[in-house]
């Protein structure tokens, strides 16, 4: 599978270095290695979801209990989570960190991913969610820490988009 193992390892290490000990996730091709690493790591709790919006509730509970967590999902999972993001995370000022695989962008060969790809950034913008696109493995740890810092200080959701360049080896 041409999902980058090396960059998945760097991403998982970056999440840990930001103090995250709980991940809620729904499997997605680009995320398989990161999810396996989370499953295998005794210091990380992985909760596999049936639908991504559950993860907003889980992260909200974890945050109120003082635990750092993140949601790991595809951009279509972001679409399915919108009400939870607005009506729980934004309403209750929860620093929800969302790590999102950015399918349907430049280089996408699967036609079914392209509609979601086209509206991912406009959606984040209209929700007022600050986001960054991650493509450089060298700065992953820094970017994840910066995102966590902003989420914690603003008490609002922050998103990191995992690009094809980062996750996929052509």
């Amino acid at each position: 599978m041409p999902v980058s193992v090396k960059n998945s390892e760097a991403l998982f290490a970056a999440l840990k270095s930001a103090g995250i000990t709980l991940l809620s996730a729904l499997p997605e091709t680009w995320l398989v290695h990161v999810m396996q690493m989370a499953e295998d790591d005794p210091d990380m709790t992985l909760i596999r979801l049936n639908k991504e919006e559950e993860g907003v509730g889980i992260s909200t509970g974890a945050h109120l209990a003082g635990r750092k967590s993140a949601m790991l999902m595809q951009n279509h999972g972001l679409l399915t989570s919108v009400n939870g993001i607005v009506s729980v995370a934004q309403l209750y000022r929860i620093p929800l960190l969302m790590v999102i695989s950015y399918r349907g962008e430049m280089g996408e060969r699967d036609p079914w991913q392209t509609e979601g790809g086209r509206i991912t950034e406009p959606l984040l913008q209209s929700l007022g969610i600050i986001y960054r696109k991650l493509s450089d493995p060298e700065t992953l740890a820094y970017q994840v820490r910066q995102a966590q810092t902003l989420a914690d200080s603003s008490l609002r959701p922050v998103a990191l988009l995992l690009t094809r360049e980062l996750m996929w080896e052509e």
Binding site: G57, L64, G66
Partner: protein
């Protein structure tokens, strides 16, 4: 049974637990019994109270966490019953009050009145301890057992579609949120 009667009967135990309620009648009735800093009222995000309970329970393993849920909310996030049953946090009680109605928005009937069986769904989702408690005595017993046992407990109670006369709560939702997180922070400190 009235939901308010059941809540009143178990209030002495609830008072010492981390409690998440859904919006509307459940929140108001618990609030009117006596607000505590360990009570959180989820005023929107319908369906996510049980997911919040899971996040709280896995993050606070030494505390008992109870979610006071309703049929309308559970039906909106049925997948959550399966996630709860999969991870079965031993310190979580998920109590579903089923009035077969979306009471807070005018009493529209839900699918549970047409035969959908939430206790049956919870059992088939893999939850091993599912109790039906439709009287105050049964509710008191079921909640006492849930509070003392080590394992995920799901209680389903049929209740009358009757709510409070007023839905007003004299607490700002952000005040509730920060009071709750401050309180939980205190629980975690040695």
């Amino acid at each position: 049974m009235l939901r308010e009667e059941a809540l009143r009967a178990v209030y002495p135990r609830l008072k010492d637990q981390v409690v998440v309620t859904i919006m509307g009648a459940v929140a108001v009735e618990l609030y009117n019994l006596g607000h505590q800093p360990n009570f959180f009222y989820l005023e929107h995000g319908m369906g996510l109270a049980s997911s919040m309970g899971l996040g709280l329970a896995v993050s606070l393993p030494k505390e008992k966490v109870t979610v006071l849920d309703g049929d309308g909310s559970v039906l909106m996030n049925l997948g959550s019953l399966s996630t709860l049953a999969r991870y079965r946090p031993p310190n979580l009680t998920h109590w579903i009050f089923d009035n077969e109605s979306l009471l807070s928005v005018g009493g529209f009937p839900t699918a549970t009145g047409a035969g959908t069986d939430l206790a049956g769904i919870a059992e088939k989702a893999g939850a091993e301890h599912v109790v039906i408690a439709d009287t105050v005595e049964a509710a008191e017993r079921a909640f006492a057992e849930a509070s003392e046992r080590d394992g995920l407990s799901i209680i389903v109670s049929k209740v009358d579609a009757v709510g409070p006369t007023s839905f007003t709560m004299d607490i700002n939702l952000l005040v509730n949120r920060f009071q709750f997180s401050d309180h939980l922070n205190g629980l975690r400190s040695p």
